[in-house]
């Protein structure tokens, strides 16, 4: 009996105030949600301007939620939230910091095909100048050139830059097949001269 009295005391001590939140209702905004911590991993969001379609997120995705389709000179990068484990690997892997985990979590959707269940980015594909096959996104090509120029040794910068421009716009197959015709500077001694 004494245990029951103890329980009763404990029950009555905070009896006047229920601890329930008012969740689906918005009448009391400060008592609507439970704690949302700083680093809560909610829906991933992709910045469409920053994304270059490099497929880094595709290779690290643990739930195979990220998929990439190339169709009609258009690359679609997609995160299917139904398969997403919200692990933030894509956020870590993204070289352009385009993917960011938000702390939104209310994503109940009534349909598999619902647009809210997918995070989509459309990117333009570059066509090969020679054979016309789309092979790389325009942004990726530009960004590669930029980064190459940023990090390269100043001695070889000019040579590489001219060579790059000669090769630019051809798909890997065409580069291999017609490599001789491009007349690029492949000699290694250019680099050795500097030493």
């Amino acid at each position: 009996m004494s245990t029951e009295i103890k329980i009763l005391k404990q029950v009555l001590s905070k009896y006047s105030k229920p601890m329930t939140l008012t969740y689906p209702s918005t009448v009391a905004p400060d008592r609507r949600y439970s704690q949302i911590p700083e680093g809560l991993r909610g829906i991933p969001e992709r910045d469409n301007d920053k994304c270059i379609g490099c497929r880094a997120c595709y290779f690290v995705c643990s739930g195979r939620a990220t998929s990439i389709y190339d169709k009609d000179a258009k690359r679609t990068v997609e995160i299917f939230l139904f398969r997403c484990t919200f692990c933030a690997h894509c956020q870590e892997a993204c070289p352009e910091e385009a993917i960011k985990m938000t702390n939104k979590f209310e994503i109940a959707v009534p349909d598999r095909e619902d647009p809210a269940a997918r995070v989509l980015t459309d990117l333009e594909l570059l066509k090969c100048k020679n054979c016309g096959t789309p092979f790389v996104t325009k942004k990726l090509a530009d960004r590669t050139y930029e980064r190459l120029m940023e990090k390269i040794d100043p001695i070889v910068k000019e040579t590489v830059s001219t060579d790059y421009k000669k090769l630019d716009g051809y798909c890997p197959d065409c580069k291999r097949a017609y490599g001789v015709d491009f007349d690029t500077h492949t000699k290694k001694y250019v680099w050795l001269e500097g030493i």
Binding site: V11, K14, K17, P18, M19, T22, S25, V27
Partner: protein, 324 residues
Amino acid sequence: MLDPVYTVLSLIIIVPLALFLGVIYSFLIRKLSARFQWRVGPMFRMYSDLKPLLGTTRLLQPLYDILKLYGKETIVPDVSRRRLFVYSPYLSLIFAVTAILFIPFPGMPLLSGVPYSLIIASYLLIASTLFSILGPVASGSPWAAIGARREVELFLVSELGFVLSIFAVAIARQSLVIWDIANGGQSIYLALLTVAAGVLMLVAMLGKLHIKPFDMPEAEAEIVAGPYTEYSGKLLGTYYLTKVFILYGLVALFISLFLPPLATSVLWLPLYLLAALVLVFLLTAVQVLNPRYRIKNAINWYLKVVIPLGILNLIIALAIWLVV
């Protein structure tokens, strides 16, 4: 009192009234136990922005549950004894409704003036419980069978306490008519008996209503939903309706037997309702403070505590009858 027109009218009125009060009592049990657990429970006033979708008040939440069950598909298992399975909820309901006709309400003596109405009412309540055991047994589900067995065991001991307490009162008041008992005066000795037998009746009510220490027939963590595992739709709704009526009936019987003048005149109505609220509060407090007994412990407890208390009651009652 014996005006036939008034009696017939009150018989017609009491059924919806009992349903309403029973629904309010079961709402209160849910709400109070929710508040005991520091949560809100079914809401008196819905949040203003959710009103269009979810309704303004949930005062009638148990009734909504029952109505919803009536609107659902009813599944009858293949292995069940179909006739018994289907009819026993309705029979249980009929017995419960008939039982409440013998229990007086303030301003409505109903049929409580007929000879031996106390015995009739208690028999009808027992019959109602009996059919809530028979139906599950006919369903052919092992969970229902275990639940029904537990219910039988609990029923045997809790019924003993129930009978001992009501007969102690009957002996002390020298009447088997509920209306006479409800009309009787009070004295110090009778008040003593009221306390002793009232506690006994409360304990018996716990067993009959499956309130927490004695809810092993419906123990959801152990045996799915107990006796009601195979029931769905209308039939389950009928059982829930029966429960509501039995809750009302037991509370009304308690008040008319142990708090005598409250169930007679219309003027006592506020006090009657207050007494009912206190009773419901007591039941809820017991429910939230206790874990579930095992069936063995429950029977032991009944045999060691309740039955001696019942016999003590009988002795007090006999003493009152013989001495006073």
